[in-house]
């Protein structure tokens, strides 16, 4: 706490120079003077990697491998959004069993990512530990349960994709190889056990003490023809407004560069910051949850529109139940496809595609030439969409912080950011394209 | 010979299963015909054939329903008998320093290898010489082979890359098969080659074969012999290849070779392997695992952080000279059976027959290679260490210690031999015995024997060995290797030349020489070390002075207080240092030995009276892993002590 020499205005700064238990490197500053927020920044200083620039001139078949490298936590999300966009450009549609396999591998990623966040990154905030390792000293069973669930998610990805991080089998039109029914069914017991463990996780998460803080969110989520939003969808739902067609999302949600961040900020055309991710999905699609998830949600009394970001851990736990239960259903119903992928001939075309990454809407757009080389690529990841919302949340949080001891207030800010499960590695890799456009 | 109608092929599966066997045979998978467990005759690649060219393999539909209408695919039968990855033993180490080792020996289910071609049967016999009849028997391999029944198939349609007629290994299946099938449109002509084969044949719904049938088989075999897609002139190949180690073709092929190792992996006779020691994080429970290696990997030629075969030229030459040359002195047979797999599955289509033909062009004169080694009948070696205990540790120099180990039972080694010392989760290292002790100062000396090992800390294992303390346990297996030829020295002046740690394997021999002045009246030790502090055993040697013993020590670098010689060890060999009629024992760095040999030859000592120790990385020590190959030899069992004339062909040459 400082008081300037004149002594009239109290100025307080809450800041963390290196956020921990998030993916990638970021910091924040919240400056309050005379009761007014004068500065709220989520600073992202992760080095940009220029993906959109070097996707140009690559073959369409390489895109899925390349974009996976944007994020080690959610590579499948990138692969699936790219596959979707490229298939829409090329006019091919994977067969139903292949789409089911896509949902299955995507469930694996949600499980892996959510379990990581719930147990290893987020839970220590509620229970008061620096990490899950220290937490395990007192809550061994809890941490082991989380690790077990995470392992089941990874096992699913490894079987379908070859490895948990940057899997190799997803491709345009499907997979390079489809798993055998026998191998897939070996996962049934683990999945069934995990459904129960995920239910337990919801019950446990619902008991965690969250600071009271509510935000009037504009929720944004993909909407597909059926099922909880995941691997496909042609419409983007925006709460309180008209839905946006998939192809129009790039214009509906322009990105801009801000000085303190190597990630672009996205807002709606009128400047409204919005929220995507688990809370937005639940708000729009609660009725599409797997019954196993819906039941436990009702049991703990969770409302579909959660407006307190600190309670996102409960929503992620509900989505864990959904992902395990749906994965189990998909495994039970699996029939080996006749071919692991549908062939796609190159053509000059543009295609947009979006899927629901663990952290929210992930939108891609590709322009291909007649040989199937990429002419232009644009990727809008969830964290850059949520970044403006996070900063506005910090502003909204400020009044409640002034009465708190400095350290606790700072921690509450950090906890708020962490509740979004920001993926900073994802957020930073798209800068060049815009600069290039503006600079050239 | 009997005739089995095509429609009754299923009965063969029934009979094999009735004999309690799983059936492993060809089946179509992933665009190739591979080996896998078969449920029924339907799993066979009925109506399929393979088309092969260098670096190319394609399946194609036949216009008939032949079950064996193809040649050989990417898998060879060595996968069944010598699995790519196989545990050898469990090892445990407890915090109190106690260790334990238990061998892992499979009890394979009886199996029938169905569809074995003549070349592949020959290959199994060739590889069997490595694992079963060359001094040591590998029990895991032996168990699998004993559990296998061979149902062979004669090739009537050789492929484009086949040359078994050249190598004398086909197309007709030779001795060793339990059953032999010859397929034609209406069915199979079947012969039994063993009692068990005959019993199975009896159970099949066959009819007697006619004379015409027998003649048909003979004619089909003759036709196949003349239809080979490739030829290999094998005449005098071992001597030709070793006589042309500097042929320009080696560099030319190396420019195309990917050094990927595909050829050795698909080769049905290649046997090189390496080991790993995966363990838990604490290193308390480990498994020694053997896995396929290749002479094309850097690890295969690695020694002391460098490589004896650093270039692809060296590696390709090692492979071809071994396969077609060194195999003969090693095992009495060529390592190539003419299956063509290395040609087809080379990603860039390097054709061994073409390479050999190119080397024949403008070839220099062949050389003579040693006669095939006369191997003793095999004794089993499961490669599992037994427990030994450290009873004393002597720090010899800054990086050398001598461990005195207590072993159960009698002394088994002879001077110059070595043991494999093992530490759980860390690995094994070959260490020469540097002495024995009666252990009279120890309580339990009557039930044990005591051997010394002098070890220099250079790698992970030796560093860990040097860090052991009295009371610690470790693993030990052996003894291995050829000892020093003490009898051949009797009555002659003996010149012993050693460099650095090379004195350790000579120490016990020196003691024996010095203890028998009547047999060895003139013993001269010339010893070179880096510095006076690095010289081993000086106190012992000086104390052991006796008439007729000359001790001369030289060092590379010395403080002013050093009163001895300075310079390389060959300086000590000048003048009359080497007496006429002397025999010489030598151990030290290769470069030291090279210069010493020049000096000895200049002094009129013939190669037949010079013995050297060759160092190559000995991993299994029993001749199974191929790591320590040195041209026609395995250093682990043909050496490490060699008479110079035996290795003169390669000694001092790079790349071997």
């Amino acid at each position: 706490m400082t008081r300037d020499d004149a002594g009239e205005v109290e100025e307080r700064t809450f800041a963390v120079d290196l956020l921990t238990r998030v993916e990638g490197e970021g910091a924040f500053t919240l400056k309050v003077a005379g009761g007014e927020v004068v500065d709220a920044r989520l600073k992202i200083f992760e080095a940009p990697r220029f993906f959109e620039a070097f996707l140009r001139e690559r073959s369409m078949h390489e895109v899925i491998d390349v974009v996976a490298r944007i994020c080690g936590i959610c590579p499948i999300a990138y692969q699936m959004s790219a596959a979707r966009a490229l298939e829409r450009a090329l006019g091919v549609e994977p067969t139903a069993p292949l789409l089911a396999l896509r949902r299955l591998i995507y469930c694996g990623e949600w499980i892996e990512s959510h379990a990581l966040h719930v147990f290893m990154l987020h839970a220590p905030d509620f229970l008061g530990y620096p990490s899950a390792v220290e937490m395990a000293a007192d809550h061994r069973a809890l941490v082991e349960r989380g690790l077990r669930m995470k392992k089941t998610g990874n096992a699913l990805i490894e079987l379908l994709g070859g490895r948990a991080i940057h899997p190799v089998s997803p491709r345009i039109g499907g997979f390079s190889k489809a798993p055998s029914r026998r191998r897939l069914r070996e996962l049934r017991d683990d999945l069934a056990r995990s459904v129960d463990e995920a239910r337990e996780t919801v019950r446990w998460a619902a008991t965690l003490d969250a600071p009271s803080f509510d935000v009037d969110y504009t929720f944004v989520s993909l909407s597909g023809e059926r099922g909880y939003p995941l691997e496909s969808g042609e419409t983007i739902l925006v709460s309180g407004r008209a839905p946006v067609a998939l192809d129009d999302w790039g214009d509906a949600s322009p990105e801009m560069q801000v000085p303190h961040s190597t990630a672009l900020h996205a807002r709606l055309a009128d400047g409204t910051a919005f929220l995507c991710g688990p809370m937005a999905r639940l708000h729009h699609h609660a009725e599409r949850l797997h019954p196993a998830a819906a039941e436990v949600m009702a049991e703990v009394g969770l409302e579909r529109s959660v407006t307190n970001p600190y309670r996102s851990i409960v929503v992620r736990a509900v989505e864990l139940v959904h992902a395990f239960a749906e994965a189990l259903d998909l495994v039970e119903a699996y029939e080996e496809p006749e071919a692991p992928y549908v062939d796609a001939a190159p053509r000059a075309a543009v295609g947009c595609g979006a899927t629901e990454a663990p952290r929210g809407l992930l939108w891609h757009r590709y322009e291909l030439d007649a040989e199937g080389l990429v002419r232009d690529a644009r990727i809008v990841p969830p964290t850059s969409q949520n970044q403006a919302r996070i900063e506005e949340d910090l502003v909204a949080l400020a009044p409640t912080l002034l009465a708190l001891p400095h350290e606790e207030a700072t921690h509450r800010c950090e906890q708020l950011i962490r509740a979004y499960d920001p993926c900073i590695s994802c957020a930073t890799h798209f800068l060049d394209l815009r600069i290039e456009r503006e600079g050239v | 010979m009997r005739f089995l109608p095509r429609a009754a092929l299923a009965s063969l599966f029934d009979a094999l299963r009735a004999s309690g066997r799983r059936v492993v045979g060809p089946t179509r998978r992933d665009h190739a015909i591979v080996h896998d467990e078969l449920e029924s005759a339907e799993d066979l690649p009925i109506g399929w054939t393979d088309e092969q060219a260098p670096g190319r393999y394609r399946l194609r539909r036949r216009d008939d329903e032949r079950a064996f209408g193809f040649v050989v695919g990417p898998h060879s039968w060595k996968r069944e008998l010598f699995p790519p990855r196989e545990p050898l033993y469990h090892a445990t180490r407890r915090p109190d320093g106690k260790v334990g080792f238990s061998p892992i020996i499979p009890e394979p289910a009886p199996s029938a290898l169905l569809g074995v071609r003549a070349c592949d049967l020959a290959a199994t016999q060739v590889q069997g010489r490595t694992f079963e009849s060359a001094e040591f028997v590998e029990p895991r391999y032996a168990a699998r082979r004993a559990a296998s029944l061979v149902v062979a198939v004669n090739c009537t349609e050789p492929g484009a890359l086949c040359f078994c007629a050249s190598t004398g290994t086909g197309p007709r299946v030779g001795a060793g098969a339990d059953l032999v099938l010859t397929e034609r449109d209406d069915g199979f002509l079947v012969e039994a080659g063993s009692d068990e084969g005959a019993a199975i044949l009896d159970a099949l719904p066959t009819a007697p074969a006619s004379d015409a049938d027998v003649t048909w088989v003979d004619e089909a075999m003759a036709a196949a012999t003349s239809a080979m897609g490739r030829q290999l002139d094998v005449e005098g190949l071992p001597g030709l290849l070793f006589g042309n180690l500097d042929h320009p073709r080696w560099a030319e092929v190396a420019a195309r070779c990917l050094a990927c190792g595909n050829c050795t992996n698909v080769c049905p006779t290649c046997f090189c392997s390496t080991t790993e020691t995966p363990s838990d994080l604490d290193g308390q429970d480990a498994t020694q695992v053997r896995l396929w290696d290749s002479c094309f990997t850097v690890e295969h030629g690695a020694m002391h952080g460098a490589s004896v075969r650093p270039t692809t030229r060296d590696r390709y030459r090692q492979w071809l000279t071994h396969k077609l040359g060194a195999w003969v002195p090693q095992f009495g047979v060529s390592g190539c059976v003419g299956c063509g797999r290395c040609v087809a599955w080379c990603p860039v289509g390097i054709d061994l027959t073409e390479e050999v033909a190119a080397i024949r062009e403008g070839a220099a004169a062949p050389v003579a290679l040693p006669e095939p080694a006369s191997r003793q009948p095999g004794v089993p070696d499961d490669l599992t260490p037994r427990v030994a205990r450290v009873v004393d540790v002597v720090r010899e120099t800054s990086d050398v210690v001598t461990l005195r180990l207590r072993l159960d039972g009698r002394v088994a080694h002879r001077p110059g031999q070595f043991h494999q010392l093992a530490l759980p989760a860390i690995g094994e290292a070959p260490i020469s015995v540097s002495g024995r002790a009666d252990g009279r100062d120890l309580d339990d000396h009557l039930d044990h024997h005591f051997v010394d090992h002098t070890i220099r800390a250079v790698g992970g294992v030796t560093r860990a060995l040097c860090a052991l303390s009295p009371g610690d346990e470790l693993g030990l297996r052996g003894p291995y290797g050829r000892p020093w030829p003490l009898d051949a020295l009797r009555g002659r002046p003996v010149v012993v030349i050693a460099g650095g740690i090379g004195l350790a394997p000579l120490r016990e021999t020196l003691r024996e020489l010095l203890a028998s002045p009547a047999d060895y009246p003139d013993v001269r030790l010339f010893y070179g070390a880096r510095t006076p502090d690095d010289a081993l055993y000086l106190d012992e040697l000086r104390a052991g002075t006796r008439p007729g013993f000359t001790l001369r020590v030289t060092v590379d670098h010395a403080p002013p207080t050093w009163r001895g010689e300075i310079g390389v060890v060959t300086r000590l060999l000048r003048g009359d240092a080497v007496p006429e009629g002397a025999a010489c024992l030598m151990c030290g760095p290769e470069v030291m030995m090279r210069f010493s040999i020049e000096a000895l030859r200049a002094a009129g000592i013939p190669d037949e009276r010079i013995w050297i120790t060759m160092e190559r990385h000995m991993k299994c020590a029993a001749g199974f892993c191929g790591r320590c190959q040195y041209g026609p030899y395995f250093v682990c069992k043909d050496g490490p002590v060699f008479r110079l004339d035996e290795v003169a062909l390669l000694f001092g040459r790079d790349g071997f």
Binding site: T20, S59, V66 | P278, T297, G427
Partner: protein, 268 residues
């Protein structure tokens, strides 16, 4: 490497740090993906700095082992990596970014003036070097784990080897060695699928061929990689120069062996 095996830190356990530079987080996530071993590792090793896992950061004394993922792409990172080197006994680089520059090294071939325009259009906002380079270009590295991402089994082997004092069983051999041990059918020979396996460092378990596709070289070249021979073969088999160049120039394209050969197929 075992000679430099970490001496136990003040806590009696070796002190481990994990850092990242320009990267996707995947390699450090591999440590958190060791679900069965993680808590046991944390018992044996003091995780002194690892921002993705823990809010604790104990930089009071040097680390015994530091794992670094990511490549050097900014002046700040260049300084950072020197600081990391100075604060650790053993420096282990993990992954294709740290060992070869990563996929972001594709910028290295860009025309310098274009890169300047791209990067410095708003120099007050961002700062990036025109190149992405492996850590070994900047400081001494004690050991490398290859891969995009690294292989979990290799990471565990490395940690176990460090703790037990053995040489890690990380073999420098081709992907083909693993592929053949696995019993795969060669995708290149049996169906003309271009595959970098013959020139690529093993460690993945021959993943791509096991999933019916050619290797894309994410572990970088092995020690004897003859990229020229493979490039020549692919061209002779009908692949256009641009395709051969692209295949070599991906996640480890900046490694000398792949770089040199890809440049041989540069048209114009």
């Amino acid at each position: 490497m075992a000679s430099d095996a970490p001496a136990p830190g003040a806590t009696g356990r070796p002190r481990l740090a994990v850092y990242k530079l320009a990267s996707c987080d995947g390699c450090q996530l591999t440590l958190l993906d060791c679900e069965d071993e993680l808590l046991h590792i944390a018992d044996r090793v003091h995780v002194a700095h690892f921002t993705e896992m823990t809010s604790l950061s104990d930089t009071s004394e040097p680390f015994d082992v530091t794992l670094v993922e990511g490549s050097v792409t900014t002046a700040e990172q260049r300084e950072h990596v020197r600081h990391i080197r100075a604060s650790t006994k053993l420096l282990v680089t993990i992954g294709a970014c740290a060992t070869a520059g990563g996929v972001q090294a594709l910028r290295n071939w860009r025309d310098a003036s274009e890169m300047l325009r791209v990067v410095y259009a708003r120099p007050e906002y961002i700062d990036a070097l025109a190149t992405s380079t492996p850590i070994s270009d900047h400081v001494k590295v004690d050991f490398e784990l290859r891969g995009c991402p690294i292989d979990k089994r290799q990471l565990l082997e490395l940690l176990t080897a460090l703790l037990t004092g053995r040489k890690p069983a990380i073999r420098d051999e081709s992907v083909c060695m693993e592929c053949k041990r696995a019993g795969n059918v060669c995708v290149m020979v049996a169906r003309d699928e271009p595959c970098l396996g013959p020139i690529t460092h093993a460690g993945c378990g021959a993943l791509c061929p096991s999933y019916d596709r050619g290797c894309y070289g994410c572990f970088g070249p092995h020690e004897a990689a003859n990229a020229r021979a493979l490039g020549t073969w692919l061209r002779e088999a009908g692949a256009p120069a641009a395709e051969v160049k692209r295949r070599l120039r991906l996640f480890t394209g900046w490694s000398p062996a792949f770089r040199e050969e890809s440049e041989r197929h540069d048209e114009g």
